[in-house]
Symmetry: D2
Subunit: 260 residues, 4 copies
């Protein structure tokens, strides 16, 4: 099925472009965010991950900086001229996230949060809809209606790995779903190999595999110093690994007539 083009400010998701949206799992401080945003943009990332709220299973673990980060992210956005994608976890966050975010990300824990999806349908801002831990492809496709039927058709699907019996990898990245969606859904499909594998060393091969499965883009966790990351340390790429990933992807994308 033809994939609809989605324009976001000065970038466009379409059949000749491949997008890499990269950045830290969560904003930890101004320096870490600035440094990472600067680097990933320089390498060709078209959007920077700017996580204000980090959903965690445990109430006592780092939950993100929240509103505290708003001001410096706004400043850095202007300074670096970057677009950002930020997870939203409550309709009431829209009012202030709206000013600092170019794309609303709905995470795996909120794919079934239909009230949030309906609310995002009222706005014209693009929505990156991640697949729930164990959402069937058909359920995921139907979830887009909650956004679409309220008027917003700027929807991007993101496969981030499903939950299975396997324990050697954090999740099971379902590239079947990507190939299936490219035939059955009109929306662009991104892949998050960082959460999809949970292991930094598998991010590069699975990113390349995602290109072949038909993905329109990747969501990659990058951190200046992963072992010191406050979350997802095992799966974040350091700067040199991220740079190497881009170098690996370049010729592959060329083969598929796509470019960053």
């Amino acid at each position: 099925m033809d994939t609809k083009n989605i324009k976001i400010e000065n970038i466009e998701i379409n059949s000749s472009r491949f997008h890499i949206w990269a950045g830290p799992c969560a904003i930890e401080n101004e320096k870490q965010f600035l440094k990472t945003a600067e680097f990933v943009k320089k390498q060709g990332a078209s959007v920077v991950r700017a996580g204000f709220f980090k959903l965690r299973t445990s109430f006592d673990t780092f939950q993100g900086l929240g509103e505290k980060a708003l001001s410096f992210v706004q400043k850095i956005k202007k300074q670096l001229q970057i677009l950002t994608v930020s997870e939203i976890t409550d309709p009431r966050q829209i009012k202030y996230l709206d000013s600092v975010t170019d794309i609303f990300q709905v995470g795996t824990r909120n794919m079934y949060n239909y009230e949030l999806l309906k609310e995002l349908g009222i706005y014209s801002k693009p929505v990156l809809l991640k697949r729930a831990f164990c959402a069937k492809i058909k359920e995921w496709m139907k979830a887009t209606d909650y956004i679409l039927k309220n008027g917003n058709d700027k929807i991007i699907l993101c496969e981030r790995g499903i939950r299975t019996f396997e324990t050697s990898t954090r999740n099971t990245l379902d590239l079947n779903a990507v190939a299936f969606l490219k035939k059955e859904s009109p929306f662009p499909v991104f892949v998050d190999p960082s959460h999809g594998t949970g292991l930094a060393q598998l991010v590069s091969p699975m990113s390349q595999a995602a290109v072949c499965a038909g993905a329109d883009g990747l969501l990659i966790e990058v951190h200046p110093n992963p072992i010191e990351a406050l979350s997802d340390k095992e799966q974040a790429l350091n700067f040199s690994d991220f740079k190497e990933l881009i170098l690996k992807l370049q010729p592959l994308l060329k083969l598929y007539n796509k470019s960053l």
Copy 2:
């Protein structure tokens, strides 16, 4: 581990009581709700299911009556002197559901909706926290912290079946989880065999099995005429089957020194 007692108006969840919370999957109209509420109360149900919002995978299927049902439910509550449990899907619903609901139910799709859980933690009203489609027991236990640490310790867990490869039953009712929680968690554990099996004919044997696994109560879907139900027709019990279920449970509960 000892289970904490939870008082809800004139009823109490404790080691000598077993609770049956029954009613329609969703409120379809005043007559259906009145008829069902009256019947299940007469049979011994301590709480009536009053579903205003029916979360559905498909945007186009029946989504519940919503606020339209508030007034007649309020009237019927007074008339029949019943307590009700209602699913809440958005923090913004609290303000009006609060007046008509005695227990807030967080459904399987919202177990990971931590913003909603935090909000419910601010209130003193009991929360029935259903397990997400594929939440690990440990994740589910940790989710209670989002309610507890905001001050509300009136939490009731509800096993409703997990998602597996099996297709003969709608879900796989995980009674291991019930037995495990009774040893590891301080909160009462309910079981929803209606969603847990998806088949009306399995509700009775699995309800009895739940008692032995250590459950403190059951959540049962009952409908005056299941084949005409607007949702979950395959799993709702008709009145005579519900009555028979209660008769089956009576001697079993006695054996475990419990009573309705």
Copy 3:
């Protein structure tokens, strides 16, 4: 559906009887087997587990005594007048296991080993067919045809827990499957709560739950000193726990008009 009665020597599986087949995970030595067999029989077990071959994921772990145990098991069978159930893993084992085993057990790893099932169909000896790690109920029911159509209708199904995303328990005991099979299959259904939970402390509640789900019997791992067991130490019951389990089951079975 009516369950067919199955006669095994001097015992019968039928609607008024409930069977407990117990013993060690594997035969470790003559003393351990004699001691355990003697005890479980005294408590009311109708069949003793006599595992010659212990299928293990790792080649290097204890694999069972194999043929070395044949002679003393034969002796003990005569001495104690007990019936035994033994796992068979290869058609070529039939010739000598036949003399020392009253019931052939096909384990979870061999449910799909159709050549073995066909071979067992030629004999008249009862077959306890365990469910594969992730066999759908329908696949499991169809597997019985490989035994049945070769002439042997003495088939007993055994639910032993399925593989899911859950990690707090070793497997997810699917009692839905038991209730479903009692309505759809003509064969008796046993439950193995030892493998089904992987935790000794959950064996008693889940054994009781199995009775309510409709099980015709239980397969229980018992060991004189679980912590020293060469396999499955976490899930084997010691003698006092096994005795207590029987005491718990007695009144429950009476309620269901069944007896050991």
Copy 4:
């Protein structure tokens, strides 16, 4: 980890070669096998699938021609000078399959059939070991010991899709496992996108994705006329689709410094 080279007659599995093993799901008759073998060889397949026994869930469905096909397969092997891979389901089949098969395939249903694996360890013939429906990667790796420790180190692993909650695809092809094994296991890893997806239209994209994940080869079902196939009709490629797949793979393999 370096992958060990495996020589099979006149071909070798090594880092500079990529293998395509193709053919019908099962041999249906001489003409179908000859036609398919001839075609896939011409397109560059290094080994032809020659299935004598087709394991089926249902006893009553087509089970393969069995020994009836031996003579004409032997003739065609000589005539076309092809190598063949055949599934083996019972140690007792070795004696006659040995003469007509160059590689023994152990299917998903027999990965846990350790007696069969041990037997195949005694021979020097290569073994293609498919992953069981829900084998964890670690279990699968350990299963190789049953072959290896009996002296046969010519082992090829084959990912064929695992069983999950997803129903839009027949299985969930786990390419994470491929990338993981290339780092942790010394054995070559093949991928079966036919069973891994269950949908012919997904075979090409997932075959390409498998190359990027690090696969050393593919196992592809090809049939002269899929809609008339006696098994797996939805997933078999017709001749023109297979030819197109090869054309797609050529430049991709070149990029990875591999060739057919």
